[in-house]
Amino acid sequence: MRLYEFQAKRIFQEYGIKIPNGRVAKSINEIAQVSNLIKRPLVLKAQVLAGGRGLAGGVIFVQQSDDVLKLGSQLMDRAIGTEKPAAVLVEEKLSVIKELYAGVTWDYQHNCAVLIGSSRGGVDIETVAQEHPEDVVKQIVDPFVGFSGYQARTMAAMIGLQSDQLMQYANALRSLWRIFQQHDAELVEANPLSILQSTDMVALDAKVVLDDKSLFRQSALLARIEQLPQQSSVGFEYRRSRAKELGIPTYIEMPDGNMAIIADGAGSGMLTLDLVMDLGGKTRVYCEMGGEITPDLMEKTMMVSLSLEGLRVLLINLIGGLNRMDEMAIGITNYLSKNPPKIPIVVRISGTKQEEGRKILAASRVEFFDDLNQAVEKAVKSTRGN
């Protein structure tokens, strides 16, 4: 779960990292109100979760003579990708001498957290690591010890900082680590972490991504940070979030396709997509249902995947261990009895309780396959209008 910048900055502030003076505004009226409280020049920042905000025009500066309402309403109306801003963060514009980077994430190669620092901030750290690897320092964290003060100071020295700046940077690193650890994050990043003319070190941007699988133990944090009203997203994002609400963990669309594909396993699902591609078939929508699937979820997944226009076939590939094929078959026949199919449905069904499942399908005259390649061939063929 990615937090909005203003939410991340609130957390940074709680942990002692300095942030620019600013307020979040959810409407033009609020932009008018809060912009009077902050000294110009200002910076207006669209609150979106998508990346690439700056390049998409999601950050604008407001000089003394500019019309803040006009610029603010333009920003509120501008979609960043498929996402309309949920709010605008209005901040004072600061005079920066140097931009640094500081962040914490997981290092899956070493199975531990890693602190990352760089003297080059304000750009994507992956890019810096590729182009200037000598300017990136890393410290992996012993899971039984944690991240120590001396390690933070060593990192600060290694990116070339001295005296007061060294201490400020080391403290910021320690704060980022505490946020990461105490709030079960996947990523905590101050980029840029900027040195001002006043010599203060301030996080001009803040990124916090929480681990979705840990949210159950972050209820206190989630209750504390100000939430925004649900944005009415459009198109793919809307359909994906609707699928997620129904309990379908993976919902993916691809342009130009005409096949719907449902699978009950991540690897077998990707294999299905690959085999379809190899035969020249084109996937439009793909749903993967995860483990422990109920008949109800099977039924809902069929409903969701068949709600798109222009589909010519639905291919369902089930090969269950934990998932029981009798329950999958009940879901399929329930759906079909309520919604007579307008396009061919090709079912491949194997695994736990497959005989029982196949009996249920046969009783409802649903054709099924035992062999995956045959099912894929049949499905791809049926997109060609026989």
């Binding site: 899956y108 039984f144 079960d184 699988k213 090969i319 269950g320 261990g321 194997s350």
Partner: protein, 289 residues
């Protein structure tokens, strides 16, 4: 022999009284797995299918001497359960739960390696040595006894592959699921090291996916030479970048972890590349002639 589990393996089931734990335990026992004890805190003293249930792993170890454990405990509590089993001296912990917090996954893996034990998973289907023992949730009718080792990230992809091998008269020595990632306690290269020395394994099938680093790590291991044929299938060639394809670890990020790259890396390391389970089966036939 076979790797990791065999007829002599004494298995403990954590979370044995739950709905899925009890159903799957029944299937494991029917398959011939030697399940010696179960643990569900607060339900000690009961029995299920004649197997004693204990409150703690320590009590189970004292009474029944298991050496491996399969854990049906849900994600939020899986780390605690896994550490309990490892702390009690078990050498292998199979963690099925999918929704394990990242920091818990890292913690349990570190805890296990510190004590010279293995976590298999999290988010794994487990292990099966066909005809001998099963410590997982595999649909075992699709598997048969044979001499091909399989190591896979995805459970379902290993079922698919075993099914096709079985239909073509080839069987499996051991099938290991390492889990959906992005944290792995046991990887493809760990399995390769064991299959290398396993006298019951003639060839190894390596099933990979987009995202993560464990196929590359396996390739690095293979680069130093491997005495048996390795056939690799990496799925996700048709997966769009930036999308999580069902497993937490299955995502192409910043251009890294594509199937094409992994296939090229494995090929350079001497693996024979297949594009489907059908192709795996015909390659295996040819290699073992």
């Amino acid at each position: 022999m076979a790797i990791l589990v065999d007829r002599g393996t004494r298995a403990l089931v954590q979370g044995i009284t739950g709905k899925i734990g009890s159903f799957q335990t029944k299937l494991m026992i029917e398959y011939g797995t030697n399940v010696v004890a179960g643990v569900t805190p607060g339900k000690g003293g009961q029995t299920i299918y004649g197997i004693p249930v204990f409150d703690s792993v320590r009590q189970a170890v004292k009474g029944t001497k298991p050496d491996v454990s399969i854990c049906f405990v849900p994600g939020p509590y899986a780390c605690d359960a896994a550490m309990e089993a490892i702390d009690a001296g078990l050498r292998l912990e199979v963690v099925l739960a999918e929704a394990v917090p990242l920091s818990d996954a890292v913690e349990m893996v570190a805890f296990a390696s510190d004590r010279k034990a293995f976590i298999l998973g999290p988010d794994t289907a487990g292990i099966i040595s066909p005809g001998r023992a099963k410590l997982g949730v595999h649909p075992h009718r699709l598997f048969s006894e044979g001499r091909i080792g399989i190591v896979s990230r995805s459970g379902a992809l290993s079922y698919e592959t075993a099914k096709v091998l079985t239909e073509n008269g080839l069987g499996e020595s051991t099938v290991v699921g390492v889990g959906g990632g992005p944290v792995w306690g046991f990887t493809h290269s760990d399995a390769l090291k064991m299959f290398r020395d396993d006298r019951d394994t003639d060839a190894v099938v390596l099933l990979g996916e987009i995202g993560g680093h464990i196929e590359e790590e396996a390739a690095e291991y293979l680069n130093s030479g491997f005495p048996k044929p390795v056939i690799a299938l990496v799925v996700g060639r048709a997966a769009p970048p930036g999308q999580r394809m069902g497993h937490a670890g299955a995502i192409i990020q910043q251009g890294k972890g594509s199937a094409q790259d992994k296939i090229a890396t494995l090929k350079r390391a001497g693996a024979i590349i297949a594009h489907s389970p059908r192709e795996i089966s015909s390659i295996v036939r040819k290699e073992l002639k």
